[in-house]
Symmetry: C2
Subunit: 337 residues, 2 copies
Amino acid sequence: MTNNKRIQLAHGGGGKLTDELIRNVILKYLPYQPELLDSAIIENVGEKIAFTTDSYVVNPIFFPGGDVGKLAVCGTTNDLAMAGAKPLALSLALIIEEGLEIAHLERIMQSISQFAESASVKIVTGDTKVVPKGQADGIYINTAGIGRVLPQAKLGFDRICEGDKILINGTIGDHGLAIMAMRENLSFQTTITSDVAVLSQLTGELIETLGSEIKFLRDPTRAGIAGVLNDIASDAGVNILIDESRIPVNSSVKAAAEVLGFDLLNVANEGKFVAVVSERSAEQALNICKKFPEGKLANIIGQVESSSESPAVVMKTSIGGRRFVQKPYGEQLPRIC
Amino acid sequence: MTNNKRIQLAHGGGGKLTDELIRNVILKYLPYQPELLDSAIIENVGEKIAFTTDSYVVNPIFFPGGDVGKLAVCGTTNDLAMAGAKPLALSLALIIEEGLEIAHLERIMQSISQFAESASVKIVTGDTKVVPKGQADGIYINTAGIGRVLPQAKLGFDRICEGDKILINGTIGDHGLAIMAMRENLSFQTTITSDVAVLSQLTGELIETLGSEIKFLRDPTRAGIAGVLNDIASDAGVNILIDESRIPVNSSVKAAAEVLGFDLLNVANEGKFVAVVSERSAEQALNICKKFPEGKLANIIGQVESSSESPAVVMKTSIGGRRFVQKPYGEQLPRIC
């Protein structure tokens, strides 16, 4: 290892210093990987694969419940899970700000290693760039992922029809509020913790058990469940009715949302999925969720009402009224993931 | 399209503005793609795939011969090509600085579209983030790629042995010097143009024609041919002797390197590969290269000498001496790709 305790621009130059950084800091946490090759070779991937990518530019890079590394592994494996796939391999591309403490990079790598193991996925290829101080705000991480689509998966907007149930695997808004509470330096009675979690085991079991009864899966990240439900309504051409009283929410998250003026339906989640399930299998899907730690508080929050020319999402409020749920227009919470 | 001519933070929020940016600016240049899905599904990929990633943080984002978008497509498809694979699909993850002119983003997308077509590869999945002004220096792009490994490919350090020839497909140093000349505002008699190019057609034909006679391929990007040759020497445990007079160099590049004090062996290339070819097939490999525009100036620049306990790269200089060629230590040219 170099004696310097901070990342220098030269660590990104592709020479010996880059080699040292990769061998001594990055590969230390990927012990199955003798070298992080320019291209990895993967055999027997199966005939149908899912392929996805996301960049993670969250600020701050460490937050209650996780860090940018955990987010980069969970976010990308979750995107594969939402496509009905079992994650197989990830790429890991780091854009590091000059001056980042190497100890911080090590914490992030440890987190990447830990959650890649939880998701049963290997980091097989990577890239490291260093940019001048003032750019990249510590570190940006891009992960791309490859997964094997489960043969039982039959997911698509076109499969959604009247009577289908809308299921969520737990409380909403935790990730977005954990980040915002930290940025705004708010303290509540309890710390708000991000929900960032690996979802592929849970969605894998749902698909393997219920097959085509699971009609659609999506993780409500940047635009929250309002974003996902509106996408479902417009792309499937249906109305969706949800019941506010059935949506799980942590009380401290609710309080923080009120203080900060956020609508929790628009707030990002990183360990949640919205599933559209056939009416007859909805209870069984719920029971499967409850077997997993990340599905303990799962609930059926609504249903698909009828196809419609101007599809909408409507919420029955806790006090008995009804309101339209809109997809947010622009930025509510910048740099949440 | 939004009326604003510059990217706003809200374009990255995941709401309607993000949808508009993706539909009206990004997908406009990817006409085969009805929507840029969170995960793409790819069928019949074959049993053995190559998987790679790179982030592109080049400064400036437009330069003679290309831009960051062309670089992102060529760089990643070239990494697949170096693994003996035919590129199949790319992901495209944009990290955009708030305030980037949308017209600039359009130019970059057009370039991505054009060179993806040259490489016969489709952009199948993506992600868009926006970061505050001052970060990301215009735009950073990450591409990950999947390719089908050609059945004839038998590449590896372990296949390299005494007598093998070292081939390069053209002049060295053009990319690095084009960037540096622009940054330093140097003017020479002729503009120095980056060599950034798609290499997969050429390497595909080499492998399909010569099979296991092609023993190793690598693109000399960040640490130049000095980096690649030293990696070959140390990982294969051999000595390499190259002949300076046989290394193709553009005269304006040579002049610029002298002015700026760079050793061209360490300078990045973006449209070059170094191939290790069996002695008996080296001439045929050279003839194949010369059929392609990106191989017109190809040459055999040296050979593998003998296995060695302390492997080294030695260059016979133009004036008849010999010198060791070292892998550069740290940063020579920051943010070259």
